[in-house]
């Protein structure tokens, strides 16, 4: 997980829950922007803040890198009118990738086999007493 985004999203969630910007800001430079956000969140919008991993935020990540590489430009508009061909191509590819079903690859991080003596050994995964249980901890990437 990215640390910087998590700090900001946590602050935004706290402001949404009623905390003041002064309480959650970590620096005076961030404070003025959080104060603006605080004023904006008082309008009757329905905004849900959620932190995502970098893999779920690839388009925005590409955009931010584009922002860093630019010197004094600001662009805002639809994808069709982007002049930078490479950026346009990258964005379309990443948007398509987001829409495609996730490719599952399971990484087995822990495997063990044991004889189940009692049914209550693993209450969240019921198994038959006297049988064999395979414990696999896996994660998808």
């Amino acid at each position: 997980m990215e640390g910087d985004s998590l700090i900001l999203i946590t602050a935004a969630k706290k402001i949404q829950a009623g905390a003041t910007a002064v309480k959650v800001a970590t620096s005076w430079r961030l404070l003025s922007r959080l104060e603006s956000l605080e004023a904006k969140l008082q309008n009757p919008h329905s905004i849900t803040f959620q932190h995502v991993r970098r893999t779920a935020n690839q388009v925005a990540d590409r955009m931010a890198n584009q922002g860093v590489s630019q010197t004094s430009q600001y662009f805002s508009g639809s994808l069709d009118i982007v002049e930078d061909e490479q950026l346009k191509k990258d964005c379309i590819a990443l948007v398509q990738k987001d829409l495609s079903p996730p490719r599952m690859r399971v990484v087995v991080s822990h495997t063990s086999l044991w004889l189940v003596s009692r049914a209550s050994v693993r209450p969240n995964k019921p198994c038959i007493p006297g049988g064999l249980a395979l414990n696999v901890t896996a994660r998808s990437i």
């Binding site: 997980m1 910087d4 985004s5 700090i7 900001l8 935004a12 002064v22 800001a25 970590t26 620096s27 005076w28 430079r29 961030l30 404070l31 003025s32 922007r33 959080l34 603006s36 956000l37 904006k40 919008h45 905004i47 959620q50 932190h51 995502v52 991993r53 893999t55 779920a56 935020n57 690839q58 388009v59 925005a60 990540d61 590409r62 955009m63 931010a64 890198n65 584009q66 922002g67 860093v68 590489s69 630019q70 010197t71 004094s72 430009q73 600001y74 662009f75 805002s76 508009g77 639809s78 994808l79 982007v82 964005c91 948007v95 987001d98 829409l99 996730p102 990437i141």
Partner: protein, 523 residues
């Protein structure tokens, strides 16, 4: 004493704060409050007087500077007065602030109040606050937005020193005033339209000097990283953190002794996880003020001077804690258990100061190592008192068992009974020596649940909703920064994209800008 310290902080120090926030209390009142706090700290009552072992000034220092972190009533009163003045400057629309402005600063705009020098006499509340105007003036600055309120030369802005202090140049200042370059936005407008001209004196040496100075000034102004907007300039508190006034920061700024590096000794004394009563005892021990017989004799006490633990030598702090046979035996057990030599000079304070920090790879063993001297000194002191006052004594083995049990329990609480066996063989042996089976203590407390993980793949929002993905990036902190984002519908179709550069800025500001621009566009 640790309990009394907490009570003083939460009750005796807190009670007069309401009075202090509005009035400058008379000196005799402040002295009476200080006496109450001091007597309570050292356990003195009307009939039963106790020695104040440490000077009150030392007690009122920060914990990192060798004190107990208490605040003297006079200092508290001053800090609260400064707070009052800050509130007047930063909340100009509140009724009382408008009353003050009408009464004491007639004809001045609120943004001029920070520069007020001649201040009229007035009500007691006003008098209590006004004496802190200079302190506030010196430690505040303008955050520039439109640049219409901050003065170019006279004010501090963007958390940097005033230009008039940086560039001691009356000629430049008069030139600026002549060209109507008084406020920040005027300077900005002229430089933007390239109308700004360097003052060019006739003589060549003056010309060289002026162009060099201009380069310095230009560099200085570039460093201040201004991003102009239509908002009004904001007054900020110039200290470490958030830009808002806090009494804690103001107190530290005014009264802490920030000369030189902080002594590592106090970090060892106020170690997190150490029991408060042990930390307080270590504090007294580090100041060499515990009442061993040698200290008692200095205070005029006449009596036996033998060490009660060995009954052989004169009792001094270094003997009791380091060279007494009982202490030696326990220290040897500690060294054997940890397979590591502990700092063992004769001076206890030096030993605590030079205690190794994090010598192991295992975090648990490092925590254990940090707890060792505090618990051992405290145990030796308890045993000494028990032998003198209760006439009971325990063997070295019994003391060692108590010592191990105390450390095990403390570690169990620190780690939520969740310990991993270290990887290195030597550390595994130490782990076994200490018998750190902390699950034996897991009876009542359970570890708090871990926070849920963030999704790792993009998912569309609910029907008739939009999803904004934003990000900020900075190469360095601060460094070249940018932000970007995309707004998509519930079908996943991209509706709007944006990106921009921020110049040199921090990662957090870049993230915030990404969010802010995204929300503005989503609206």
């Amino acid at each position: 004493m640790a309990g009394r310290l907490v009570l003083i902080k939460s009750v005796l120090q807190a009670m007069p704060l309401y009075l202090f926030s509005t009035l400058a209390a008379p000196k005799w009142v402040l002295k009476a409050i200080r006496d109450l706090q001091r007597n309570f700290l050292w356990g003195s009552t009307g009939r039963n007087r106790k020695w104040a072992l440490v000077n009150w000034k030392e007690v009122c220092k920060l914990k990192t500077e060798g004190g107990l972190g208490l605040r003297d009533p006079l200092q508290s009163n001053n800090t609260m007065g400064a707070r009052m003045w800050w509130n007047w400057l930063s909340k100009p629309h509140s009724p009382w602030a408008r009353l003050w402005q009408a009464k004491y600063a007639r004809g001045s705009q609120w943004h001029d109040l920070i520069r007020i020098n001649s201040i009229a006499q007035g009500s007691p509340i006003w008098n209590a606050a006004k004496i802190h105007s200079r302190f506030i003036q010196e430690h505040s600055f303008w955050e520039i937005h439109s640049g219409t309120l901050a003065k170019l030369w006279e004010d501090s802005w963007q958390q940097l020193p005033k230009l008039e202090n940086l560039f001691q140049m009356p000629l430049w200042q008069s030139y600026m005033q002549q060209e109507n370059l008084i406020q920040v936005h005027q300077f900005w407008q002229q430089t933007q339209h390239q109308e700004y001209q360097i003052w060019r004196p006739a003589n060549s040496w003056q010309r060289d000097w002026a162009s060099e100075t201009y380069l310095d000034l230009d560099q200085e102004l570039t460093q201040r990283r201004i991003r102009y907007s239509n908002q009004q300039d904001k007054l900020r508190w110039d200290h470490k953190h958030k830009g808002t006034f806090t009494t804690k920061e103001a107190h530290q700024l005014r009264y802490s002794d920030t000369q030189g590096d902080q002594d590592q000794l106090w970090a060892r004394v106020w170690l997190p996880g150490l029991w408060p009563k042990i930390s307080t005892f270590l504090w007294l021990l580090s100041k060499r003020r515990i009442l061993t017989w040698d200290n008692l004799i200095k205070r005029g006490f006449i009596g036996p001077s033998r060490c009660p633990n060995c009954n052989l030598h004169t009792e001094t702090i270094s003997h009791l804690m380091e060279t007494c046979p009982l202490a030696k035996e326990l220290w040897e057990k500690v060294e054997k258990c940890n397979k590591r030599t502990a700092p063992r000079g004769e001076d206890v304070t030096d030993n605590i100061r030079s205690w190794d920090k994090n010598p192991f790879k295992s975090q648990l063993l490092n925590t254990l190592w940090g707890l060792i001297p505090g618990f051992l000194y405290w145990l030796l002191w308890k045993e000494r008192n028990s032998r003198i006052f209760n006439n009971t004594s325990r063997t070295t083995d019994a003391l060692w068992l108590i010592y191990k049990r105390n450390i095990q329990e403390t570690l169990a609480i620190r780690t939520w009974y969740d310990t991993d066996m270290p990887e290195a063989q030597q550390e595994r042996d130490i782990f076994k020596e200490w018998n750190l089976d902390l699950s034996a203590f897991a009876k009542v407390i359970t570890r708090p649940p871990r926070s849920s993980t963030s999704p790792s793949s993009w998912s569309p929002p609910a029907c008739n909703s939009f999803k904004l993905n934003f990000d900020g990036a900075a190469k360095g902190n601060p460094g070249p920064a940018g932000f970007g984002g995309i707004i998509r519908s519930h079908t996943g179709a991209p509706l709007h994209i944006y990106y921009g550069s921020l110049g040199k800025d921090t990662n957090n500001v870049a993230e915030m800008e990404g969010l802010w621009q995204g929300i503005c566009l989503a609206e």
